[in-house]
Symmetry: C2
Subunit: 496 residues, 2 copies
């Protein structure tokens, strides 16, 4: 069996390597590649994915898994984690014919440029055909797994393993019940954030983003930050972390976006070296990844302790804009709540409702409770109901996100699940390190970074997301800390 | 057989794709990668090479090749070219056990950092062990192919397919006989090039390099130029060409280096689209590649017609340095001949002797005619004999190039073979386009570019290098045009 384990390890190291390379090629595509390189790049990524898939569904992997008796392995061990994860990946992968996978990849590739054009012209009608095709293929994907009580579970599971639709619904309903009235209450508050939209010279923003990443901390010579259209974090391994941001001359958005991507980058950076080349050597799920980005962006980056430490430096970098803005006004400004149309520009409070809206619509789509052509109207109705905003056109409504064009149905909820978990993780860190906020106020970020390494990152993907969270905070996912945090931070009038 | 051809094409498309990806990863490593990423990168490149090799030596490839009757294919066709090349690659690859390939790759990877250190400390003794190991492995590699009349042929063939040691020796001896006295004659000429070492602000150099590449011509949105330590050209396909350069604030070197890499880039850029994803969709050999880079760097970039057109612009960009330097002085300066220690900094005339020295030493190494520990002394003797320069230390002598540390024995001669071919190709272009120089003097580079596309680049790697050259210029490789060109350009006193 030791031999079977070694063979499995070697095969899955290759499989993970191919995935890492494909992931890295996507970084280059979005930061460095000459625009016309798209054709080669799509072929190369598809080639790596195909070979990686062949390596995973190879009958030899099934044979090795059959030979390994998990009961004899220490369940805490890397080996047990690798076998559990490989079994899970293998069992799912072998259900889906290569032909269908190819069709799904092709349909997504074809839908994407149509979506770009539809968004540009704000014409949902243009996108309807490709969207129907993507949805139809998702149905065929679900059918591969036999009859399902809740078909959406299968899609969700691809992004947040073992999470169930019923559980997400319960959590999101709890959030909705509190958020909708909170937003209604906050929307009329008059908070000045005009100073956040002055002129912030790009070279100083670039230097500042590097400074913040240095301050938060990482091993030198292992990171880079580059500009891109839509920020993301990527890399080629724990020693090669690449985060991206989008600089706007007239706003400080890039600073918060950098903190967000830092959280993603740090998660991958702090995966234990001994498992870094294996499929268990990465974040446990999209949700847990988002818990890390949200933690650094919001719990740290929009907190008073952080800005008590860092605001003088920010004023020093942008004196013209901020010299006359005192800390309290700045803090209120960066935490201004205002219902708006676009998810990726939403504040900490309204963000959740953008996700809940998509989660609900996705279930209606998958369960055939909505005609796809009616999506723009359903979108507008929910935006009105949840956020009280009117959707002027498709570009600012149903067409704003790329996910559905890429066939990613079931993805959105991980954003809010991650946000919910970020507060649970933050509070557990505070329990363990009672003076955590004081430390941040003194510019000590190492304590938090190390706590995250020891309590979250250490597990990589050895356990399910649920088990990873349980090990980190001692409980399952729970919206209450998140809701209490929002009410504590935003419930009391900011400007009294 | 049509089916066998299709299958072979599909397999070799994958094989070529994997090679292209590995090639691209090396670009990133030398331009963008955080330094600590080396470990991941080495693993990823090795993974791609291993899978690519497995695809090539797969018995199924042998079976398909057996099924295809080349006699029934049009020898001009892409299919015939693909079958010829695949057969050649396959026949060589299956002779070498995977284990030996692994040992060679590992030994090179281990030798490289030792070489870096040896060069830094100018201590050849440090490098002796790893060099011995690389040489020993090359001997084992040669043995895989059975008894050889001239073992060095096998190494040469890896870099310049079907080129023989005897032929190179004949060409190089002919060159040596003419160059050594020419260099002795030129070395005492007093040519002022001090104005090439003023202050050339980096931002203007960057803009100028882009301007020159735009001027020489390429499809927009398909190229990029980045700084690196040792310039090279790379890319991920015909629509994604990446050249690199090294900027020096105190010199114009980067400009000529950019022209050189432009030639490499253009070759790959102008490969016909219909074969671009196949192994035949690349340059025919290292030598032919170098013919293209040398052509743009020297025959165009150091020519009077080009500078009649471009010198006013250069003076405009660097007025402080060049305002008072007239064209003739500038031309003499960029063509100054001066024997020196370092190959990559050598002028057009002395360059060849640096290569010949290495070619001769490599044969002595492979045939056991020199003890490796005596290499520094042999190096110094030849440098004195050929160039009349004294080698002060190993760093400026035998340790200057990375090739032997990377196990690349047999590579050097392609530099000079390419230079020789560049003049043959240039003169054939002039035969076909009698006013070629006048066109260049008018800033028309499209004519040359298109002539190269139609006469050299069009063939990709469909034919052997010898056959490719024959199709381009109507003859085999010949040093006479090259020697005549040098004597024409340099033989008459520049400053009379």
């Amino acid at each position: 069996m030791a031999d079977a384990l070694d063979q499995l390890k070697a095969r899955m190291t290759d499989q993970h390597g191919l995935a890492d390379i494909a992931y890295f090629l996507a970084w280059d595509q979005r930061t460095m590649m000459p625009p016309a390189g798209t054709g080669h790049r799509a072929q190369h990524i598809a080639l790596l994915q195909r070979i990686g898939h062949e390596k995973l569904v190879d009958p030899e992997v099934g044979r090795l898994l059959g030979e390994i008796d998990e009961a004899t392995l220490d369940p805490e061990s890397d080996e047990a984690g690798l076998v559990r994860l490989t079994r899970r990946m293998y069992d799912k992968a072998v259900q889906v014919p290569a032909e269908l996978r190819g069709e799904m990849a092709l349909a997504a590739a074809e839908a994407n440029p149509v979506w770009v054009k539809a968004k540009e012209t704000s014409d949902f009608g243009l996108f309807l055909g490709p969207l129907e095709r993507n949805v139809e293929l998702r149905h065929r994907y679900i059918e591969c797994f036999g009859p399902q009580e809740e078909p959406y579970d299968l899609l969700l599971d691809d992004f947040e393993p073992e999470m169930k639709t019923a559980e997400v619904t319960r959590i999101f309903d709890e959030i909705k019940a509190e958020l909708v009235p909170l937003i209604a209450e906050l929307r009329d508050r008059d908070v000045d954030d005009s100073f956040l939209f002055g002129r912030f010279p790009l070279d100083r923003q670039v230097a500042l983003d590097h400074e913040v990443v240095d301050l938060f901390g990482h091993r030198p010579d292992t990171w880079r930050i580059d500009p891109t259209e839509h920020p993301f974090a990527s890399g080629a391994g724990i020693d090669d972390i690449r985060i991206t941001t989008h600089y706007y001359e007239d706003s400080l958005k890039s600073l918060f976006s950098t903190m967000h991507e830092y959280g993603h980058g740090l998660y991958e950076h702090q995966i234990p070296r001994r498992i870094a080349n294996l499929p268990i050597g990465t974040g446990a799920s999209l949700g847990l990844h988002e818990s890390q980005s949200r933690l650094w962006e919001n719990l740290v980056g929009r907190s008073m302790p952080f800005w008590r430490f860092f605001y003088p430096r920010l004023q020093e970098v942008f004196p013209d804009q901020l010299r006359n803005v005192e800390l309290e006004r700045f803090y209120a400004g960066i935490n201004r709540v205002e219902p708006s149309l676009i998810r990726i520009r939403a504040d900490e409070v309204t963000y959740g409702m953008h996700v809940i809206l998509r989660f609900e619509l996705e279930q209606d789509i998958v369960n055939g409770r909505v005609e796809l052509r009616d999506l723009p109207q359903r979108w507008a109705e929910k935006m009105d109901e949840y956020l009280g905003v009117e959707v002027p056109d498709d570009a600012n409504g149903v067409l704003q996100d790329t996910h559905w064009a890429s066939g990613l149905i079931g993805y959105f909820s991980t954003y809010l699940l991650g946000t919910v978990m970020s507060v649970q993780i933050w509070e557990k860190a505070q329990d363990d390190v009672p003076d955590l906020e004081e430390r941040i106020e003194r510019g000590d970020f190492a304590t938090l970074r190390e706590w995250l390494a020891d309590n979250v990152h250490v597990h990589g993907r050895k356990f399910t997301p649920r088990e990873t969270l349980r090990r980190a905070v001692g409980s399952t996912i729970d919206a209450k800390p998140y809701l209490a945090y929002l009410k504590r931070k935003y419930g009391a009038p900011v400007a009294a």
